[in-house]
Point group: C2
Chain length 461, copies 2
């Protein structure tokens, strides 16, 4: 029987091949939100299926959903050992603004220690690392655990068809726990394990004024400008202390324990680090909380997009007929993602002037989640990180949202371990997204060790 | 010698030909603000030059400016009679949002009493009507006055190269007054003469936050969102009564006399009319003023466009790095269009938070103007309108801005008569721009009579 360190050593010889394949994976523009990329989504799913088959996975197939397909495959030849679902997503975010990319988003380019491409960090990097971790075991004779691969294609659009899918394939997906690779660590030398994720509720707010755009000279002064109204409504959604004003918004927000606050305060990310990662001259946020608390333990309301009137070159003197904002809230347990829509509408009913009409479209929503820090799987993840990075990982609350974690808990009754290797300054969802290559290779090692630690633990069945 | 009414009768036989030629003029996409339309601008200028030459104008030429050319031509065979410059512009506004046009903007289409096309009202309609009015006299033996044609190609971009041009061709443009055709009446049966125009100052306001777009989950709560800041800054530019808060903004705004207010109050446009023209359910504006006063006699600050972050299909969870608003002010005598930029910057210095940086770009600016209601030319215009429409015209303050009027006063020392035939609900600068065809034909008649009335008046030399 091959030892885990032999598998790790074995994998180290393959870094060049890993990088070549990683680039191939990154070059597929699998953008889930844009319908013109549907063929690329299909191609990307088939690419992963081919990888799984090549590695020795069985029953590899693309399972249809109401949207983009799920890639499934299984390796169940470790009798008596735990069974885990390895979750990931192969879809990625759009690339605009395209002109701000230094190298084209689908021509993966290595500069220094980084590889630049859309999806490099979120999450083709983690996805590919776990594939290579599994492959290293399989090339060494077999996996020490049972694995069901489950890569979806709609994470970046809120996993909107996943819940009925998971319900339908409940027995196929039966497992002891989920390894969710869509996660990150703090710094290249500071590993971390996420035990809490914010939820999200994402809306489009449309404000309508006149039936058509008007001339700002001939009508300006006599009618209400919906772009102005939209700005006023958005302004009113926060008070001067950065608190959100939607009625009852904070009612169910979980308050951090003193112990948790103290633990978070030990995390070695200074305000200087935050400033540098964000690329901003000053930090800003809700009064009374540290940056880590603001991002992990407090809800937010952000404007994700604004559009109204004339935005091209030059000076068109239009008084717009309408204005639109994309607005999303990050949620904290036990906030109800459904209730937020009512709170937003209640705010608008109270504050929108009678001169305009408005409409709210709910694009996606998902509740926040907390996972148990003391399951055997969580301890296996902590051990694997410590063995690879040489230091104990920090336990963290993340600001992002991974809808599938709560879904797996609710539908399959299992916890998730969030173990991934993004870094906070990877420019995910932004131009020049990148993956730190030394961290990607360490990710592969960590996954190799994780499967070994898991096989040594007794799992609750 | 042909009488004026014979010329009018003669012109009435040509309506079909007028419409055919008008459609040809409208089909040229002479959008001045978009550089890809430069060849169309040239083609449009040449089209007018060809018309002028065909009618018998002499010295017809395209005079270069630093931007798009001016079309010039003269007919100076009425010795002892007044000389007028006929001003117009052949450039037009962009057409977006294109998908809201019922028929394509450059395929002029007649539906009911209207012709639909970009520029139909602003101002190819008036421009073509005056050409046909001149042509009717020339086909009847000659004009009763001396005319210098002067059609520019940059009115929709603030006539930004016109001032040095007018200065250079001062002697060529020498005249008794200017007939400016870029104007409108109130309703098809309610003629009007504009004696005041608002000025304009048009800016782009850019707010910059982080150096790149961020993930709204991983950073949301810890950095200031520039879209949020932009909304707050815009909100603060008005107080709850609709007054503009820029420092010293109202200092030089002319106060209406009681006589003027009484005269404006007699204008037969009700609030219902305004609502219908604007296509809005409720009117809105600065407290203490009527709609006509709000539009004609009060300055405004309008958001002409908003752009930030992700505005496409779906839900991209981006925390934008920057946000932009197009903001323009309509000005009232004696507001200084240059001072407004300082007032805006002063406001931003006082109100922008230290978490962002901002930048103001001045796209165009021009002061407001008032013209004398009692010049012989103004009286000739009133008489021509009364003879054609059967009722006396109302004297009006218009909300729009026509930079060339103040320029002609300052550079050539002459007044302008604003005589044009747009209607307030023509959708200018918006989708489905239209011209009311019976009004267009009446416009031709009015111009024919106007030249006759002018030739009967003694002009100051």
């Amino acid at each position: 029987m091959t030892s885990v360190e032999q598998v790790v050593d074995f994998s180290k010889r393959d870094h060049d091949r890993y990088l070549t394949e990683f680039k191939e994976y990154l070059s597929i523009p699998s953008i889930s939100t844009l319908s013109e990329h549907k063929p690329d989504i299909q191609r990307c799913a088939e690419w992963i299926a081919k990888q799984l088959t090549g590695m020795g996975f069985k029953n590899v197939e693309l399972l249809p959903t109401a949207g983009h397909p799920v890639v499934y495959g299984e390796w169940l030849n470790a009798p008596g050992k735990p069974t885990l679902v390895v979750y990931g997503h192969y879809d990625i975010q759009p690339v605009d603004p395209l002109n701000e990319w230094v190298s084209p988003p689908f021509q993966p380019t290595v500069r220094g220690e980084y590889i630049y491409a859309r999806g490099a960090s979120d999450m083709k990097g983690q996805g590919h690392a776990v594939l290579k971790g599994l492959e290293a075991w399989l090339r060494s004779g077999g996996l020490p655990v049972n694995v069901k691969m489950f890569f979806e294609g709609e994470e970046e659009i809120g996993s909107r068809n996943l819940e009925p899918f998971v319900e339908k394939y409940k027995s196929k997906l039966k497992c002891d726990f989920v390894l969710n690779c869509d996660s990150s660590i703090l710094k290249p030398d500071v590993p971390a394990l996420v035990y809490g994720l914010r939820g999200i509720a994402y809306f489009e707010l449309h404000v309508y004024g006149a039936k058509a755009d008007l001339h700002s000279g001939l009508f300006g002064g006599a009618v209400h400008n919906p772009a102005q109204v939209l700005c006023e409504l958005i302004t009113g959604m926060h008070d001067p202390n950065g608190h959100i004003t939607l009625p009852n918004f904070y009612d169910k927000v979980r308050v951090l324990s003193n112990e948790e606050r103290a633990e978070l305060a030990r995390v070695p990310i200074s305000d200087d680090d935050w400033r540098e990662m964000a690329g901003t001259k000053l930090l800003y946020g809700e009064k009374g909380f540290t940056s880590l608390e603001r991002v992990g333990a407090r809800p937010t309301l952000e404007v994700n997009g604004l559009l109204s009137g004339f935005t091209g070159e030059g000076s068109k003197t239009v008084l717009p007929a309408k204005a639109m904002a994309k607005i999303s809230m990050r949620l904290i347990p036990e906030q109800d993602d459904g209730a937020v829509e009512d709170q937003l509408k209640e705010y608008l009913r109270k504050n929108a002037p009678p001169t305009v009409t408005w409409e709210v479209k709910n694009l996606t929503s998902d509740p926040a989640v907390l996972v148990d820090r003391n399951t055997p799987a969580m301890r296996a993840a902590a051990s694997a990180l410590q063995a690879t990075f040489g230091v104990k990982p920090f336990f963290l609350l993340s600001g992002g949202s991974v809808p599938v974690v709560s879904m797996m808990k609710n539908r399959l009754g299992v916890d998730s371990v969030l173990l991934g290797f993004g870094l906070p300054d990877d420019n995910i969802h932004a131009p020049n997204e990148k993956q730190h290559l030394p961290t990607y290779y360490r990710g592969i090692e960590t996954y190799i060790r994780f499967f070994d630690f898991v096989s040594q633990k007794s799992m609750p069945h």
